[in-house]
Amino acid sequence: MATLNLLILVCLGYVVLLFGVAFAADRMAAAGRGAWLRSPLFYTLSLSIYCTAWTFYGAVGNAARSGLEFVTIYLGPTLVMISWWWGLRKLVRVGRSQRVTSIADLISSRYGKSNTLAICVTILAVLGGTPYIALQLQSITLSFSIFAEADPSGLYREGSSVFWVAAGLAMFAILFGTRNLDANERHHGVVTAIALESVVKLFALLAVGIFVVWGVAGGVGPMMDRIDASEIGQWNVDAGRWTTFIFLSAAAFVCLPRMFQVMVVENADEGHLRTAAWAFPLYLLLMSLFVVPIAVVGLDLLPEGSNPDLFVLTVPLSQGNEWLAMLSFIGGFSSATSMVIVTAMALSTMVSNHLVMPIWLSTQEGSGSLSGDVRHVVLVARRVSIAAIMALGFFYYRLSGGGAALASIGLVAFAGISQILPALVGGLFWRGATRTGALVGLSVGFLLWIYTLLLPGMGGALMSSSVLQDGPFGIGWLRPQALFGIEGMDPMVHTVMWSLSLNTVAFCVASLLSFPSPLERLQGAQFVNVFDHSVAPRGWTGSVAQSEDLMIMTQRILGAGPAQEFFQAEAEQQGGRSSLPEPTPAFLERLERELSGSVGAATAHAMIGQIVGGSSVSVEDLLAVADESAQLLEYSSQLEVKSAELSRTARQLREANTKLTQISQQKDNFLSQVSHELRTPMTSIRAFSEIMRDTDGLTDEEQTRYAAIIHDEALRLTRLLDDLLDLSVLESGQVSLNMGGDTLRSVLDRAVSSALAGTSKTLTVRRSKASERIPLHTDLDRLGQVFINLISNAQKYCDADDPVLTISAHDVGGQVVIDFADNGSGIPAEARSMVFEKFARVGGDKAGGAGLGLAICREIMQRLGGDISYLPGQGGAAFRVQVPLAYRQAAQ
């Protein structure tokens, strides 16, 4: 007998092989060498995940219990594949062009992106899928136990082995099912592994069948005799059950999440359906070929009470053929694992996209941008979902105890998932179908399924037998298994009939009564008329003619130079027979990435899609394009603002530059004037000192006179330098004021005597000393300097025969106003604005000053918080000095 250890070793080896195959396929696809992976054969084989452990083991069991009825499970899909080929094609086309990720996504997409609907479908799928996963785990356990019974070591523990199987499958699904963010992308690794498993399970079942017919029964003839002799051959066909089951399996074939995953999401080419339409029924035929012989032989050979679900294993074992049994075990293992992996992947996409992400996004609202880590969150959500779904299946298995017959769980799940059918088919073919209709129909069917099939089937725990017997609250026509008083029906037939018919009626009525939203109407048209505006999706493929169109479009976006460069590089990389690259998927992908750098991802996808025709432009695409345009508009308005800012800055800079040029010009003029004022006295000094040095026989008179000139000019130089330094300090604002208090009168007294001292020119100063008794608090020396300057100016420039300077003072609102007016001819009107400028000398008068006096006065008065101005209309030259009574810091 094969030891359990060997079995576990073979199992592990097989799992390693699956990982290896999946890994290699992913690598090949990534490297672009996996063209054969996208062949119709692989597509057909991947469809055969329809045959789970339930069909592998359960079909024989079903045949042993109920005769030929098991055939209905194969007939449904076969009928769909052969007679409803066009419907499937539409489904695939819609799925590809809308880039749907799951059946929940498809339904939600059709009915105006309704997430409520998506959530309903997701919950339904999880509820239906969980027992189904449990069923697969159970089949593995049961088959293990067959070998364990014969194992002397007794090491086998059921619970832990199931746990490790579930964990391993979760890991596989996570590793190969969530590599990429894009759930719409094909998972070559998973599909290839599933195709391999399909071959293995078919091979195993055929091997067992051939062994039974030729090895045990002794050929076809004796086998037929045995069948005729057994009960199976004589079983009567119950039309109701047959119709129901065929319909149910057909519906489930279309609606099951895992079938949708392999049939629509993983579909690489619509044309593959053409091959699958005959190849898949053929596969099912082969799978069912030896079911009846195995069942008949099993019933004959094995003792009464043996589990017919395990005949596939126990018949070879009973004949001592351990290797065949082990092969058969691997076949069953394959059926279970492939189903679990794909179901987990499909359900996790639905759960993460429609349950986890909306919740996560709503918690992120208001926290600003979420572009960065969304990708990461989606991947984590999908992985956690896989683990959670697997855990759910595991716990369901542990809690249910694995007692129910395999086949019945499968049928219950089928009935549940079939509730999607009205909304799905209606959505594909009836434009009038609305979201409300879908929601109402789905709810009605879903609730009826729970009420009439799921709860009664779970025993007394959730629904008491009194409800089952007499209806809830004793209402007879609400009895779960005899609705509206129709009794005596098979429970399954009863449920399917009522739930699906009421589902459909509710769907139609609610659709007719409700009004679709604009988005719904648009999506409805997209779905129903999908063939009018899309071409067969073959991924991104096209002809060279399309390359030209792509080139033209790319030139418009990137500019002629970069576009040609890009296309040339691509053509060379492809081997370069022509100057244009073949529009291979890899090239188109790179082009899309290149363009999305310029126009945004959504726009780039839509543009390439329009030209290559891989998918029509969906509403989502258009909305994304609109978003991008809005961003561009926003960006351009930002640019406009920036540009306005820039021109404002430029204007300011121009103004500043003009000002600087003026200042520079002023500085040049100033230096030139300073130079002139310095050179003039120096010229006299040099000339006379040379005269005194070089001339013999100068008279004493001459010597004295020339020395006096030199002395005067030296003093003039000193005064000029003092003034310049004074002005410089005042202008730089670094002057330190020496505050003091005194009356205006004494300040004027000192100024008058100081100004008039030591000059020969006479000037009469008239004052009204009574009005000068004003106390002042300011820098008295600086104020005195201003007064001296004004008195000296009058003395120097007053051209009257008898020069008189009148000083008058009065107090006006916190300020002292002092006017200095002489009786001369005054300053010409055109020169008045100039008198306070540096080196301004009116009329070229050479009275000894350098022309800095009034400039200094103005600076001083500004520092003191007052002012000095020319006072016109006084006859002679007149200046007005205003000074605050008390100096305030703020005046500076």
């Binding site: 002139h676 004022e677 050179r679 120096m682 000339a687 009329g843 070229g844």
Partner: protein, 137 residues
């Protein structure tokens, strides 16, 4: 009178007209040139300088640039417009020693350009040279 009379009188009486508004500088130059045997006339105003020159008919003009009323540059330009004063030697003195001023003076037709402060010897040399050139031609 004209060239003949000027040439004939050259050893007896050489006249220089000094147009300078700084009295001390004017006095120094007058002292220097008088000792050299020049007859020195002075004028301190720019406005009527051209008429004064025409009236004085000097052998040489010493011209300041910064003058009240009219600048030395303008006076020089006006002189060069007049037929009989086109060849008159003009020594220009300025306290603004920038290159730009020298260029302006040269384009206006100055005979010699000097920057203040000058050495007495320089002024004397310049006056002698200019007078020698004028009498040779």
């Amino acid at each position: 009178m004209g060239i003949l009379s000027r040439g004939g009188m050259k050893h007896m009486s050489r006249k220089v007209l000094l147009i300078e508004d700084e009295p001390n500088i004017a006095e120094a130059i007058r002292f220097l040139l008088t000792r050299e045997g020049w007859q020195v006339e002075t004028h301190a105003e720019g406005t009527d300088a051209v008429e004064v020159i025409q009236g004085a008919n000097p052998d040489l003009v010493i011209l300041d640039v910064m003058l009240p009323g009219k600048s030395g540059m303008d006076i020089l330009r006006d002189l060069r417009e007049l037929d009989d004063l086109r060849g008159l030697p003009v020594l220009m003195l300025t306290a603004r020693g920038q290159l730009r001023d020298r260029e302006m003076a040269e384009s206006a037709g100055v005979s010699r350009f000097m920057t203040k402060p000058f050495s007495n010897a320089e002024v004397l040399t310049a006056v002698r040279d200019l007078h020698a050139q004028a009498t040779q031609s």
